[in-house]
Symmetry: C2
Subunit: 271 residues, 2 copies
């Protein structure tokens, strides 16, 4: 099943795709739908067909957006580190997110870099969950690009200030339920800049899988329906290249995951 928040008739609504047609769900967005109804009720609640519906940011109001760094073996190696015993975690906010086709607008003069990622959408309240409980609490998967401001990320020991720029992290276009795709079996994660492939890896090589991440996080903080967990990026980021490469004004970043879909965002660097 494919779920989204779509723009239709000048407003947004939660929606489910049935026979290639978006049908309305009874909520203004997918965050609200997951909180009120849960993913299992989506098919039964599908309403009117929404002609011309366009997917927008699927989860506009997650209370928690928690990201894992250093989770693909090859990306860990390119940063010169050992394979980790624990996931490296940091936070973003709802304000950090933007839609699957939106411009990413940042000030000029920053070292702006790409990070294609599989994102997990939480579908249940998880607290002290074991991995099996966590796995059963996954609403679905979507695509994210954890676009990072490297110079601010490395100004201090803590990455947060390079990871929480408003509107910097595109997410979408749809949320695909776990009965349709299995990241552990391997989904290709690809990033292209102006059509040139810069990242490609399989989610099969994740050090910590989706259920392990949710279980680990739920040890210290509750996760609720609509919260997002980003699972980390593969090798190929611009900051690790020689010479380093960063995004320029007008660059088009495409972020695709097999079985889910693709983001397509233009970077706008302006004051």
């Amino acid at each position: 099943m494919r779920l989204a928040t779509v723009s239709h008739a000048d407003r947004t609504t939660a929606a489910v795709l049935i026979d290639d047609v978006w049908r309305a769900l009874p909520a203004t967005d997918l965050s609200a739908f997951l909180a009120a109804q849960g993913v299992a009720r989506a098919a039964g609640l599908a309403g009117a067909a929404l002609d011309g519906a366009v997917p927008v940011l699927p989860l506009p109001a997650p209370a928690k957006v928690i990201c894992c760094g250093l989770n693909y073996a090859d990306h860990i190696r390119e940063t010169g580190r050992e394979l980790p015993s624990f996931p490296t975690l940091f936070a973003k906010y709802a304000d950090t997110l933007t839609g699957p086709a939106d411009d990413v607008v940042l000030p000029p003069g920053l070292q702006v870099d790409w990070e294609a990622e599989l994102a997990v959408v939480v579908g249940a309240t998880l607290r002290h969950a074991d991995p099996d409980t966590a796995r059963a609490g996954i609403a679905g998967y979507t695509v994210a690009n954890d676009i990072s401001v490297r110079d601010w990320q490395y100004r201090t020991l803590q990455w947060f200030q390079g990871k929480a720029w408003d509107g910097s992290c595109p997410v979408g276009p749809v949320v695909v339920t776990p009965d349709e795709i299995d990241p552990a079996a391997g989904l290709d994660v690809v990033c292209r800049v102006n059509g040139e492939e810069v990242q490609r890896d399989s989610t099969r090589t994740l050090v910590f899988d989706s259920a392990q991440l949710l279980a680990y996080i739920s040890t210290f903080t509750v996760l609720r329906p609509g919260d997002l967990v980003l699972t980390g990026t593969p090798g190929g980021v611009g900051t690790a290249r020689e010479p380093q490469r960063f995004l320029a004004d007008g660059d088009v970043v495409e972020t695709a995951i097999a079985g889910i879909g693709a983001l397509r965002n233009t970077v706008r660097l302006k004051g």
Copy 2:
């Protein structure tokens, strides 16, 4: 002016202290009041006296809780670091907070440590604010203890997973407006464990003051009324002692700032 969220007659309400009497403000808590009315309207909107009102967590629902580490010169020195050019920032969530007299409940077997801090309450929407604009956008100041789980904080490079345990960070008891106190002029920040003083310093020695922190953060993310910024802790934390000292089940942590008030929290370590 002293503002709070108080518990009264089995519910909470925003309140303002006038002539030593808590008077109701038209909102269920101070977060809601600041978002809807703003601090300047508090005196004019004061309603019924609330006999027996007890201050609770003043801001139950901040969208952002952003913390500065390494902001007192002596604490920076005890961690073996140089004075910073930029503030070190990390995030908590609303779920991380707890009330001024609540127990701090954590699982046994963790390295739980104290961090007394001045917290700044945002009173305006701040985006790309200069320090003067940021200063004018401060609703007030309160007391926080950024209680930290050191073993999780240092499991990876990112502190977040040691800083975001649900219910670990007491805040309150009141919010004091900037016309009454000036951290730049020096407010004593004190932490006591079972009556023994373990931290004492003056906010005069902060490397980055409240307005500088708000302005810096507003460069990358918007701050809104009710958001919280914790300004960092002085020297004297348990992890930097020789031998190291951590909080035990039953320990009472008092956190006091001159001109604001004190938190008093019992640590409960149980499975």
